[in-house]
Amino acid sequence: MSLEGLYQEIILDHYKTPRNRGKLEKPDIEIFESNPLCGDELCLHAHVNGGTLKDIRFEGKGCSISLASASMMTETLKGRDRAHAQKYINGIKAMMHGEEKLTDEELGDLEALKGVADFPARVKCALLAWTTLEKALNERSAREGM
């Protein structure tokens, strides 16, 4: 796979103009994670109501892949429920191994992350937002159910 497959317009667009960047007042979910290998940092905030991610924001330091992935994740999951979020978390993880669990229609912009599978050193960058959200959701479930 070529560099063009990795650095698609969609990725660069989300990197340069990230969606849902910032923090939330009184977040129900607040989690900070870093990738110890490269120092990428991500902070996720979300409001949860009735099992739905009413709002979700992120802040972070990182490469184009990790920040674009976080930006696209917030767009995809805002207003969606836990099951929907888990479906996408699983789907994006599988995508990094070249597996197709989500249709192109379901993926939308996220399809642009397919190219990352050919760059093993960058898979962790693409997954940081997703694994961080999963951890936060699991912790929340363990605490109070969502």
Partner: protein, 428 residues
């Protein structure tokens, strides 16, 4: 030494000053540098992480396993005697390489990290008490930071850090004020793995000794690239990694001044480090074996010996000059790229062959991916195991190129080309 190099020495390349090394000829000694990616020969610039291995080292290891392999220090048979002689011969090579007074002062370890942990564990636990201070710097690698944090926490000691000036140079005036009669140890890197800064270890050693403290030197980024004389530096501990100087991974060394080592309790317990063992206690072997428990990395040590022969064959002073010239070229060439930030001292004579940089609008990881895929250039991106320094520089990560004997100006050109390509992709 290699054939290619002998030819170079006999007939200097036109345009090269006599005494200058010829990296194009030296490259032929390193089989992996024949690798091509996308039709382009690899330009390997991740030398601060690990260096490539010359054929002489690879063959020395193979030869040992094919002709001499046996455990050391115990066999009564000739094969074991030969293996022991080869292993101890490698120790003598390390001694000469560092100009230590005696082989008793040279301990084989797994690398700089283990060497520094040995000092923190064996010396530190016996000599650092509650209220004592250990003085480090803001530019240390995690391996010269975390062992001291663990020790300090356990003992109730305090860590202090010599600050950096804006060029990434240690402020010795402040260092002088930070050292007190509470300071037990000053531990400092000789060359920064991020900034390339060469620290005035000899001056720092004098400051430390004047205050009654010892000095430990992280030589991971210096020993491979410049002549080191532990007696001239007047250091008490000096740690190095084999794999950063053409030897295999898994072998390194620690120099400890004999008067200090004689009073140190052991590090690991086990075979070979003992004299007599009873059910409830044991007595220790002589120096340096007291500090080498278990079967050591015999082939690794022999590989390190071969690497030292190889590097001394070229000449450490020549290697230093070569890297200085190349670094000056890189600072100039990369400095021309719009939007680039170069870290560390601008004066090449004050730095080793490490150049860290960032490019506006392109994260270091993206740079590393693009220069690799586009130009087959291997560089590092990240925090380089120096997170506090990254914090100090107010960056999350940098890209880093580091040079060695086989690198040349054309490698820098290829890196610059890759960076321009990255800027093109990111439209900056």
């Amino acid at each position: 030494m290699s054939l290619a190099l002998k030819q170079t020495a006999a007939s200097p390349v036109p345009g090269k000053k006599s005494g200058e090394i010829d990296p194009a000829a030296i490259r032929k000694d390193f089989p992996v540098l024949d690798r091509k990616f996308g039709g382009k020969p690899i330009v390997y610039l991740d030398n601060p992480a690990t260096t490539q291995k010359p054929r002489a080292v690879i063959e020395a290891i193979t030869r040992f396993y094919e002709t001499t392999n046996a455990n050391v220090h115990r066999g009564a048979y000739r094969l074991a005697e030969e293996a022991t002689a080869a292993y101890e011969g490698a120790r003598e090579k390390v001694r000469a390489f560092l100009n230590a007074a005696t082989v008793e002062e040279i301990i084989f370890t797994r690398g700089t990290t283990e060497s520094l942990n040995l000092v923190a564990y064996a010396w530190g636990r016996a000599n650092v008490k509650s209220g004592d201070e250990i003085l480090l710097t803001e530019m240390e690698h995690h391996s010269n930071l975390v062992p001291w944090q663990i020790l300090a926490k356990e003992k109730g000691a305090a860590l202090k850090h010599i600050p950096l000036d804006p060029d990434g140079v240690l402020d010795l005036a402040v260092a002088g004020k930070l050292i007190s009669d509470r300071t037990r140890l000053v531990s400092v890197t000789q060359v920064s793995n991020v900034l390339g800064t060469i620290n005035p270890v000899k001056d720092i050693a004098r400051l430390a000794h004047d205050a009654g403290a010892l000095i430990c030197v992280d030589g991971a980024q210096s020993a491979p690239h410049m002549a080191v004389d532990v007696r001239d530096l007047d250091c008490d501990f000096f740690a190095l990694s084999g794999h950063k100087m053409c030897a295999p991974t898994g072998i390194g060394a620690l120099y400890v001044r004999k008067s200090v080592l004689e009073k140190m309790p052991p590090f690991h317990g086990g075979g070979d480090m003992i004299r007599q063992v009873f059910l409830d206690h044991a007595t220790w072997n002589d120096l340096p074996w007291k500090f080498e428990a278990g079967t050591p990395d015999i082939a690794g040590a022999i590989g390190l010996g071969a690497a030292i022969d190889y590097l001394r064959g070229i000449g450490l002073d020549r290697i230093r000059e070569h890297e200085k010239t190349l670094t000056a070229y890189a600072l100039r060439k990369l400095g021309e790229i719009p939007g680039i930030t170069l870290y560390g001292p601008p004066d090449p004579s004050r730095r080793g062959g490490v150049v860290s940089f960032n490019v506006d609008g392109v994260h270091a990881h993206d740079l590393a991916t693009i220069v690799d895929r586009e130009c087959a250039v291997a560089i590092r991106a990240g925090h380089h195991c120096a997170q506090p320094l990254m914090e100090r520089l107010k960056v999350a990560a940098t890209a880093r190129a580091g040079f060695y004997v086989y690198n040349m100006e054309a490698d820098v050109d290829r890196l610059a080309e890759g960076i321009l390509k990255a800027k093109e992709i990111f439209k900056t």
